[in-house]
Symmetry: C2
Subunit: 146 residues, 2 copies
Amino acid sequence: MANAETFSQARDMFEIYLEQNGHRKTPERFAILQEIYDYSGHFDVDQLYSQMKEGEFRVSKATLYNTLELLLDCNLVRKHQFDNKNAQYEKSFRVAQHDHVIIADTGEVLEFCDPRIQQIKATLEELFDIEVLHHSLNIYAKKRTK
Amino acid sequence: MANAETFSQARDMFEIYLEQNGHRKTPERFAILQEIYDYSGHFDVDQLYSQMKEGEFRVSKATLYNTLELLLDCNLVRKHQFDNKNAQYEKSFRVAQHDHVIIADTGEVLEFCDPRIQQIKATLEELFDIEVLHHSLNIYAKKRTK
DNA sequence: CTTAGTGCAAAACATTTGCATCGGT
DNA sequence: ACCGATGCAAATGTTTTGCACTAAG
């Protein structure tokens, strides 16, 4: 199973990250990682919380926020801030870097990948003498009525 | 004065917008528009509120939020959601469309404009059969240590 | 044993809403 | 006069924080 293997590798990376940064390897942290890697697509903290409440491993929201912070830090999760208030997250290991098209009416989110973004980043690095860490590109659009 | 003239034109546009949409032309609305057009750069609601409290025209935050909504709707103001919680705004009339580089350590915001964004948007319109309304591109970077 | 991590509830925060009043039209 | 807009304060909803308790190392 590709999913299970991806999770297994992500868990290894998380473990190494926790060790190297002097964080404890609590069962909550791995349960959260697993929940995230079992899921495909975007989710917010509330969804994740509800989902885990149903399941066998119950964690508090405080722990979710805490753990997501760690997962962001070691790049196993990405965080998105679309127009609405609450942040969206998604797993990022073995998932191609991509950007988002948000359909205005429905809130539907499409993904795309365009190499020109990389070119823009390279140009900016030279222009401003900076090192790009990451970026966020959201295109807001509506479906075309034929 | 270029600034005064820009404001004057923006005010005309706002007035027309208000008329055409059956909104009242209250002094608060024009005072807010003026405050925004007198200022250069990004601001959040709190800054705008404090600034106007000092000045001669005091308005409530409810009115600020309400009016910003109208100004967004008629494209006299743009709204940005950077990584932090509170939204940032800036005037948009007679200001070239641009994107942002956020310097991680300092929070400093640089502006840039790259034509490849337009190309990407055109590609997406064709690819997904959509009509792009607007976009948001934020590059997060750190200064290069020479 | 030590102390970071947890759960819970309270706090903090930006934004929204309800309602009485004010003032454009 | 009518009813949309305002100011204020209370409500909302997400994220953060404080604290006593638990458990990883």
